[in-house]
Amino acid sequence: MTVDSLPGAMILEDVYKSFGPNPVLSGINLEVAPHEVVCLIGASGSGKSTLLRCINLLEPIDSGRIVLLGQQVTGPGIDANRVRRQVGIVFQSYNLFPHMTVLRNVTIAPTKALGMPKAEAEEAARELLARFGLLDKLGEYPDRLSGGQQQRVAIVRALAMQPQIMLLDEVTSALDPELVAEVLDVIRGLAADGMTMLIATHEMGFARDIANRVCFLEEGMIIELAPPAELFTDPKDERTRRFLRRIVDAGRL
């Protein structure tokens, strides 16, 4: 079963999710094609992060359907661990394991979740770290690295599981401005390699560069979904225009 033979690598149908009385996702419908990059934009609290966490099954959804790589992953009897091994997620605050070296951070999941032999996992990890310019850091502990380096390690850690889909949750939001570029470059590299990605981001310029389509969320609903050229220059919905105006006023576009 290859990804390309499928209509969508990621299909969300009518996904609802609330935390107690507060609705967070109110009927999300979204289909992401293989090798496509979709950026989620929207104000804080619009449901971007929750949407990514639901796709990774870190949060259960209330109703609706999520299909990943041709397999429905919501409903009873789903082995969440198997699903997660195919879907990498990277968090805003890196969430590296502070008591492990960089190398161990990267090899822990392949060895303990996939049963890959240690030597093989380390060889693969070295290769990945080298590709992202981190080979000299493999013996370091995370708190000795800069934020940008930590986030790149977190990306490598997710990639070490050889996921078919990557979910990126505002991965540059916690970074100092001068460190943002190095992380965005890594993501551009992934896109160029054909990784299917769903990216929640506040970097509008980046979204415009990298995304095949941009998706504007407000109050847990998809307000507008369009190619970046269209959404950023000629937004159809009044709410999208208002959001983009605020972004422009804040000097972030």
């Binding site: 966490r53 870190l58 969440a80 661990n81 969430n95 394991f97 502070p98 822990i108 999941a109 708190d143």
Partner: protein, 317 residues
């Protein structure tokens, strides 16, 4: 095993609570509690501060010694609790005269401590994990674990020692009723301390941020693997100082097993006292316990310092 030595009659092993508590407070205070601690607490930098703290410490020490020496019953107390000859005799013991070696008996305390420590670390972890679990299936176990912790934290350890030491043999069960007093002592210590230590574990588990669990699970690690490789190592690192604190306490509390008749250091010292009518043996037991606990206390301090420096370094980087 010392406790099963047939050379001594059981009539020698009387527990005398009145004697014990009054003698310990009279003997313990002036000798131990002021030594060494003053300068470290008071030092604030500079040579002048060092001189001042050294002098003030000496003055306080001298005053306490003077009060002790000037007290009307001083010579009697010194003879009863600090007689060098009796201290030495009780330390080496003399079976022919009817008393045990306190120095040999402390070995039983050490063995009980080591056995109980291992068992406590395991049992307490199991209890903590049960109490931290979330699944509805485990609800009855969670209730049991909570009752366990409430019960054994609430009942005095001495009563648990009596209950296990006299209750289990009375059951006349083949496997568990024929054990030595030291074994019952270890069981009682384990039951009681596991309740405390499980709470320490729980604090440690709670100290690991939820995002670490999310990161581990998002990589496809099972809950057990996430716990083992990601959560527990960080939790345990955070609780080493409070754990060691509990174990310092445990070292001392092995003395309570003496009430069952096990010849541990405190019991051996009591026997010496009631045989020879000199309680310098209790001073020997106290010194031996200090020799055990002080290194562990210093080691704990060292770990706390190291942890603080590690975190400070982490914050700067």
């Amino acid at each position: 095993m010392i406790g099963n030595d047939p050379a001594f009659g059981p009539d020698n092993r009387q527990y005398e609570p009145g004697n014990f508590s009054s003698t310990l407070s009279a003997a313990g205070t002036p000798v131990f509690s002021t030594s060494g601690r003053g300068p470290r607490l008071l030092s604030g930098g500079g040579r002048r501060a060092g001189v001042v703290s050294a002098i003030s410490t000496l003055v306080v020490l001298a005053a306490l010694v003077a009060i002790f020496l000037a007290a009307p019953g001083s010579s009697q107390v010194r003879h009863t609790f600090f007689d060098p000859h009796d201290m030495w005799q009780s330390f080496i013991g003399n079976p022919k005269k009817g008393y045990y070696s306190v120095g040999a008996a402390i070995w039983l305390n050490i063995r009980m401590f080591l056995a109980a420590e291992v068992l406590i670390l395991i049992l307490a972890l199991v209890i903590a994990l049960i109490r931290q679990s979330t699944g509805p299936v485990l609800f009855p176990l969670r209730v049991l674990a909570t009752i366990y912790v409430d019960f054994f934290r609430g009942v005095p350890l001495l009563l648990v020692v009596y209950g296990v030491g006299f209750g289990l043999p009375a059951l006349r069960l083949s496997l568990i009723s024929g054990q030595s007093y030291a074994v019952y002592g270890v069981i009682a210590l384990t039951l009681s301390y596991s309740a405390y230590v499980s709470e320490v574990y729980r604090a440690g588990l709670n100290s690991v941020h939820r995002s670490q669990v999310a990161a581990a699970r998002s990589l496809g690690l099972t809950q057990a693997a996430a716990l083992r490789y990601v959560i527990l190592p960080q939790a345990i690192r955070n609780i080493v100082p409070p754990l060691l604190n509990d174990f310092i306490s445990l070292q001392k509390d092995t003395a309570l097993v003496g009430v069952l008749g096990a010849i541990e250091a405190n019991q051996a010292a009591q026997i010496y006292g009631s045989t020879v009518f000199n309680y310098s043996s209790l001073t020997v037991a106290a010194i031996l316990f200090l020799v055990l606990t002080i290194p562990l206390a210093r080691f704990t301090d060292h770990l706390i310092d190291r942890d603080r420096q590690r975190r400070l370094a982490g914050a700067v980087a």
